[in-house]
Amino acid sequence: MIRIVDYGVGNIQAFLTLFKRLGVDAQRATCAEALADATRLILPGVGHFDHAMQRLNDSGMRERLEALVLEDKVPVVGVCVGMQMLASGSEEGQLPGLNWIPGHVRAFANHPQAKALPMPHMGWNTLNVRERSTLFAHAAEEAPQFYFLHSYYFDAQHQEDVAATAHYGFDFDAVVSRGHIHGVQCHPEKSHHWGAQLLKNFAEC
């Protein structure tokens, strides 16, 4: 089943509601033991980068999570700050990230083409899907719309890890995929049929 990593940060309920509607078996996991039956993992996250990392580090789940993802190759998707946690670190904080996908999280406020724009980047934006990666294996439309709410963005080290970009002053890396590890900056759990399709693709990959 899909296990949603509940370390006290992020909108777990929205994922549970959506998967229930899709008829996909999904439950939250609040301890390492509960992760044992995971065939898919979702790592949500909102708020401050260090706060999220600290909560995950203190959750007692990190070690098991890393074993599942890095050794057992269980597919995982990080969402919003959960995506940012896949990087090596963030300009928002000091704590190291999970470092599962090479990259660093940067502030829009430090980017010359974005710093004059309203912050946070809030609302519906179009994803420019670069290639048919796993998360977009079945998509109804070429230019899906997703809801974003963030001030920091994932800057992938390798272009081949970038599955989709979105434009806010410049094209930033909105979705990254490296093998079975995925990250989406936007909120598929709140992005109507586009988001439901993405999560369905993830559940079936």
């Binding site: 929205a14 909102v46 309203p118 519906w124 934006n125 909120h187």
Partner: protein
């Protein structure tokens, strides 16, 4: 490209969904959960739900109702009404709500916004400013009010919006008391003056009665939140209750054509 947000705003009064005029005369328009279901089907950009009783009656937010709304809502949800502490905001976020709005409590307790931002992150903190034109024969300009416009504060909306942003608000909602329920169009001058003063996203509420009003706002302010109550719950000049919302194609067309002008 980022698109302007078209946001239905639902008011809760005595457990039901209502629409006011000039912040008065709440008219019952239906069941809140049912309305959320309809806006799910219509794929609304986001929803704003404001409990207009909680602050006036001095009671806590209705967490049971919020939980039900959040569980049903498939789009981003902003809740406001009766929130006075950061702990309440955190509890609401944990129920599955994206953003928590405050207005009255941000005035009586200026540190609240900062405390909320620390607890749930600025991106989830919305400051709602209820604004009305100053009354009196020789008065000019606007003033901020609270408690369903029963209390007036000596605050200039432009200056106050800057303070709210500096305190940690991630979004400012400008709610025009004078336009509420009139369906005569937004107070675009007011909205423009606030938007020019802040760098956080701005959402405008009060006065929209037709799609042209949304277009007028977007033409003038660009990428902005265009919120409305009456427009999305009434149909026709007799204000028959009918929940409605543009189709995705209509919405995209409306937003992009307005931005190009």
């Amino acid at each position: 490209m980022l698109r302007p947000r078209i946001i239905p705003c639902l008011l809760i009064h005595q457990g039901g969904l209502v629409k006011t005029q000039l912040f008065k005369d709440p008219k019952y328009v239906g069941d809140p959960i049912n309305a959320v279901k309809i806006f799910n089907e219509k794929e609304a950009d986001e929803l704003m739900v404001l409990d207009i009783d909680a602050t006036v009656r001095g009671v806590e937010p209705n967490f049971d109702l919020i939980a039900k709304l959040a569980a049903e809502c498939r789009m981003p949800l902003c809740y406001g009404g009766g929130v006075t502490t950061a702990a309440q905001a955190a509890r609401i976020i944990a129920l599955g709500v994206e953003k928590v709005a405050v207005s009255a409590a941000a005035i009586t307790h200026p540190a609240l916004i900062t405390e909320m931002a620390r607890a749930v992150g600025s991106q989830s903190v919305v400051a709602v400013m209820d604004v009305r034109k100053k009354s009196g024969l020789f008065s000019k300009g606007y003033q901020v009010c609270t408690h369903n416009a029963q209390k007036v504060h000596k605050l200039d909306p432009v200056e106050f919006s800057r303070q709210l942003q500096d305190a940690g608000a991630g979004e400012i909602v400008i709610n025009s008391v004078d336009r509420d329920g009139t369906m005569q169009g937004y107070d675009i001058e007011l909205a423009a003056s606030v938007k020019a003063a802040v760098t956080v996203p701005v959402t405008v509420l009060g006065g929209a009665g037709a799609q042209e009003h949304l277009e007028d706002l977007i033409k003038r302010l660009g990428v902005v939140g265009a919120a409305a109550g009456s427009l999305f719950v009434f149909k026709g000049k007799y204000r028959a209750v009918l929940i409605n919302y543009p189709t995705p194609a209509q919405k995209t067309q409306l937003c992009y054509s307005a931005l190009q002008n």
